[in-house]
Symmetry: C2
Subunit: 335 residues, 2 copies
Amino acid sequence: MSTFLDFSFRCGDKVYKKILGEIEEELLILEEDLLAWVNTDINFIKQPLKEMILAGGKRLRPAMVLAASRFGQYDFENVRQLAVSVELIHTATLIHDDIIDDSPLRRGIPTIQSRLGKDVAVFAGDFLFSKVFELYAYSEHFDLLRIVAKVMYQICEGELKQREDLFNTELTFKDYIFRIRRKTAMLFALSAELGARASKAPEKTVRALHKYGMNVGIAFQIVDDMLDFTSDNNKLGKPVGADIREGVITLPTIYALKHSKQREFLKEILANKSADEEEIEEAIEIVKNSGGLDYAKGVAEKYVQKAQQSIAELPDIPIKKVLANISSLVTNRTK
Amino acid sequence: MSTFLDFSFRCGDKVYKKILGEIEEELLILEEDLLAWVNTDINFIKQPLKEMILAGGKRLRPAMVLAASRFGQYDFENVRQLAVSVELIHTATLIHDDIIDDSPLRRGIPTIQSRLGKDVAVFAGDFLFSKVFELYAYSEHFDLLRIVAKVMYQICEGELKQREDLFNTELTFKDYIFRIRRKTAMLFALSAELGARASKAPEKTVRALHKYGMNVGIAFQIVDDMLDFTSDNNKLGKPVGADIREGVITLPTIYALKHSKQREFLKEILANKSADEEEIEEAIEIVKNSGGLDYAKGVAEKYVQKAQQSIAELPDIPIKKVLANISSLVTNRTK
């Protein structure tokens, strides 16, 4: 089981442990909250939803809510449900994502779609979205609902954009960033903003935290897309190069399409929706040999630097260390 | 194109036309609102979503909001968005339903899943759910959000219950009603309740309208399930007996499983997930010959009567006629 509790990572020659510092205890309380929110009377989905929460995940988004809330009038009870809400949104999109990717595993356990079918996964995800709705209906934070709703439909737009862009070998860096901002980064930005706004941090601080979250999120997704080329089946529950197989063009591929000596051949394979396994594997190798992964790593690091610049603008309180840890973690993760 | 505008139906020896009376003009305004709410910058989904709205549907749920609002301090602007919200929720669930049923047509036009794939349909439905979220965030009706959220997740629970009950030949009348209340009727009840609450109708009136909506909704779904046995491909965009094919046990089948002389044989076919076409057609015939459709019609009529009893409890204002028309329409529809 991989949760925030056993987080450790190497950065340079140091190994960081317990990077979430003082918010770890609060995150433990949220685990119970999450289990309560995903509960349902419908028996056959009860246990799979519970197990999906218990299987962990890094809880980076709730951690951002909690950390950001320290920059205002900090009160755990005031932000507790907001932190739950971003993890519920995240979990709902994972359940729907797994349908599309036909993923057998998530967080090391079988996905809902592989256990109970795609149809069940559709409504299980919807169920969690409705629970987010209910959470806000009973919270004190009606004023924050507008920004939450906006991010929710922008996430959907990002996911839809990804479908629109499938097999499109003309995709630019700008297109890619447009998509991953929506698909991934906006929820990180929202998490940081929610924590800060709810605790009435100054507007300048809210904006810096929002920017921090956005940049961390972009870096996070770039690394995620890189891992698709390098991680093995056991870690991600997907075959290497799943994106290429599905026609999803990500940053390393965009680079290869521009700079690889074999770019014309690569283009041909990628635009062919019925490429065979041999061609797919060739395409993966071309991207790997193109320098696209190093390039993507460099871009991700640039976004981490941007995130760290945003941190520099913040008041100097101990929790800054946690934010810095999270942003370093993003480019050093292996799963 | 089938919309509320060309509604006419035969009841006994009378043909009813323009059953929605004075609210027709308001419904026309809502058409524009709906188009605005489903708008998106993501090009390839923009037109399909628009067409789905333009293809119509009966707009029964918004009609209920508008009609119910007459029982309080009626103000169109005050309930306009609530009426939009219930149609958006309905449309989102249709998009997700079509994924599961693998339906080629909806409202006479190709479904989003058949045009753009299941993965697009998942996030297109999510997009509409998020828009409902946004609609409430910007409305004056925060107090109503709790009942909306509850109905939203209960709809999901109803849909999930349907999956749990697939191929279950032991299903009882009570199980069936539990499921269709959630899956269908609660949104009708919510629609009537929203209109009444927003216009500050007396609590007794709100309760009667809620009961009215619930009973109409139950009757509506029973008839829908009957039409699955009798309607042809052109009207529903599905083959006759799609439910039996998918393992969905509905009221006529529950009756046949108890009363048909061939009930043992029927049970065998229904419990067999890989029954062949010939067996499926036999099962459909057994249900049709069992008296199950007449029985289901009788039950639907009983719920319409219950709905009409709820209307009788309401103050005597002209709009009562519209509510009565809607409830009669439900058992007389042929599509």
